[in-house]
């Protein structure tokens, strides 16, 4: 290509002992040296505009490249080295302890549920009868109840949480943001028994008199998952309670994820003539998708394990149903309700077996989510 004839610009003299800046000496080489040292100082856009990029959430993990640990200076004292070594041992020990506890719990659940597995094997998972008097046990109604309520809760909570997270991170002025954050945190602080009480005294009656009939009459009523409106204690009511419980988790984690999206990503979209909403939709959400996904999974894990509020609102009827307007049962609820009164060894072992199934379900879901996040995060 043609060289521009502009090379007669004098290279600035390198003054002996002068206060030449770090980039000055590059003049002689004729090749621009990236003034990296100063470039960092000269990017105010990173500093005043975005203290936000600093709030690295644990969920930003797969996206944020790991910095190489820098070497300590040469005179690195023996004592420091010992401290560091002990620190490593200590953290290793704690990590091993966590793994050990998990394995012990799994093992004991396994041992405690032996009678059940010997009696029915894996068909325990697909049996629908649960009759302590006749000694018949099957886990399917509870598995279904737990999955149905948790998934419905997620379906309701994720869009709302994401909306709140976007509002908080992108749009809300301070006087909206701070109170809203406070409310979301407050929601997270409500004990689940209290939420259950609210479910019993407020939500369930309201469901029965207003909400269920309204849904049944709306276009949503055509969905096969909604049948005839009935009493206020049912899968749907439990799902709503669960949604309220997981909402703060998903909302606050998603907000962290969105705040960790580098400002320059958003600016790139804006500078291409995207509107703010387009930038959020196509770039910010895309960048944060793996983090948002793991926020949803953490919410799901919470919903799967929730006991009290679900037990109080789900209706506690053993029946395999896919109709959200009918009462049902969850794995946590059956354990909480019956373990104390279980008279036979088989009954106890069946309850422990339900516990083991729940344990495995959470484990598998979490592992699957991790894998997906890894793949998405690249």
């Amino acid at each position: 290509m043609v060289e521009p004839d502009l090379r007669r610009v004098p290279g600035p003299p390198v003054e002996a002992g002068g206060a030449a800046g770090p980039g000055r000496a590059a003049g002689r080489s004729g090749v621009a040296r990236p003034e990296s040292g100063r470039a960092a100082a000269a990017s105010p856009w990173a500093a005043p505009l975005s203290p936000r990029t600093e709030t690295l959430s644990p969920l930003a993990g797969p996206l944020s490249p790991r910095r190489g640990g820098h070497r300590p200076p040469a005179p690195f004292r023996l004592r420091d080295r010992l401290v560091q070594r002990w620190f490593r041992y200590a953290t290793g020990l704690v990590a091993a302890l966590v793994v050990a506890v998990t394995l012990i719990v799994a093992h004991q659940l396994w041992v405690g549920s032996q009678s059940t597995w010997q009696e029915w094997g894996l068909s325990f998972l697909t049996r629908t009868e649960w009759n302590p008097v006749r000694g018949e046990f099957g886990a399917l109604p509870f598995i279904a109840g737990t999955l149905l309520t948790s998934l419905m809760a997620l379906a309701m909570a994720v869009p709302v949480s994401l909306g709140i997270a976007i509002l908080l991170s992108e749009y809300a002025p301070r006087f909206v943001r701070d109170p809203l954050i406070f409310i979301v945190e407050l929601l997270a602080a409500i004990p689940s028994v209290v939420l259950g009480l609210w479910g019993i005294f407020v939500l369930a009656p309201l469901m029965q008199s207003r909400i269920l009939p309204a849904i049944a009459a709306s276009p949503l009523g055509w969905l096969p998952i909604f049948g005839e409106p009935g009493p206020g204690y049912n899968l749907f009511t439990a799902s709503v309670i669960l949604a309220i419980m997981v909402l703060p988790i998903i909302a606050s984690l998603s907000r962290e994820v969105l705040l960790a999206v580098p400002l320059d990503q958003k600016e790139a979209a804006l500078a291409l003539g995207s509107t703010r909403w387009e930038a959020v939709q196509h770039v910010v959400l895309a960048y944060g998708r793996s983090g948002i996904f793991s926020a949803a999974i953490l919410g799901l894990a919470r919903a799967l394990g929730e006991t009290m509020a679900v037990t109080m609102t789900i209706g506690n009827r053993v029946a395999l149903t896919f109709d959200y307007f009918e009462p049902g049962y969850s794995m946590t609820a059956i354990i909480a309700n019956e373990l104390r009164e279980a008279a036979t060894e088989l009954h106890v072992s069946a309850l422990v077996a339900v516990g083991l199934v729940l344990f495995c379900l959470s484990f598998v879901l979490n592992a699957a989510a991790r894998l997906l996040v890894l793949r998405l995060g690249r």
């Binding site: 502009l6 610009v9 206060a19 990236p34 856009w45 600016e267 291409l272 003539g273």
Partner: protein, 252 residues
């Protein structure tokens, strides 16, 4: 295609601090105008005023006038979103969209604005990647992630991405400051080619770079436009003593 940009008494404030002070500047089309000056003198702030990026900074206030051709960009008749398709921007750090492929990075904006589709879009991808001197390096892996490229390639992809909306003006904020010398060289060659068709404004605090690529150079100091003229003149006989002090490296 290329358009002239004119600022009159352009002032940008962040709260009470004036970052750009009453700047009058005329940026001619089909040429490269370099903006130099010490860190914090308002180069980036000035550049971002030219495509209204300050709209997104709540504390920022812009006063005075900026015209693109003969249209006032801060006037009522100007839609800022449309403005940014006419005045493109390349940032200091390469910022391709990591969740998109190389091709998607380029097609993102033209698709949004309905500029092209189908085979037209394919042509556009090739054309702008050629313009950005990147085509030969990526033509076999257009569907790979943009993050698989090197830093210099990423920056050229960002230039291609900006060109894909067919802007009239291209603003570049220290586009090579995060790159190694070879990649810098490529970007500089590219800028030289692009000026045939675009109005280019490049911020740099590397004076050799300004000397190599630009036709006109503006020296900023503490928010003021101190000196502005043909690059050769400004570097060989600066009229202002602060300009001279700066280009001879006596402060910076």
């Amino acid at each position: 295609m290329a358009e002239r940009m004119t600022t009159r008494q352009l002032t940008v404030r962040f709260g009470n601090a004036e970052a750009v002070r009453r700047v009058d500047m005329e940026i001619p089309p089909r040429s490269v105008t370099a903006i130099i000056g010490p860190s914090g003198c308002g180069k980036t702030t000035f550049l971002r005023a030219l495509n209204r990026m300050h709209d997104f900074t709540p504390v920022a206030r812009v006063e005075g006038s900026v015209r693109l051709g003969d249209r006032e960009i801060y006037g009522n008749g100007m839609n800022p979103v449309e403005l940014r398709t006419r005045v493109g921007m390349v940032f200091q750090r390469p910022n391709p969209f990591p969740t998109m492929s190389i091709r998607q990075n380029v097609t993102y904006a033209p698709k949004r604005h309905g500029l092209a589709r189908g085979p037209e879009l394919e042509e556009l991808v090739e054309r702008v990647l050629r313009q950005a001197a990147l085509w030969d390096e990526v033509k076999d892996r257009l569907d790979h992630s943009a993050t698989s490229l090197s830093g210099g390639q990423q920056q050229r992809l960002c230039i291609a991405r900006a060109l894909a909306v067919e802007p009239q003006v291209l603003l570049m904020d220290e586009p090579a400051s995060a790159l190694d010398p070879t990649a810098t060289q490529k970007i500089e060659d590219l800028i030289y080619d692009l000026k045939q068709e675009y109005t280019i404004v490049i911020v740099t605090h590397n004076m050799q770079q300004a000397g190599r690529v630009s036709d006109h150079t503006a020296f900023f100091y503490m928010g003021h436009l101190i000196e502005y003229g043909a690059t050769d003149d400004l570097f060989t006989n600066p009229r202002n003593e602060r300009t001279e002090a700066y280009i001879t490296g006596r402060f910076g």
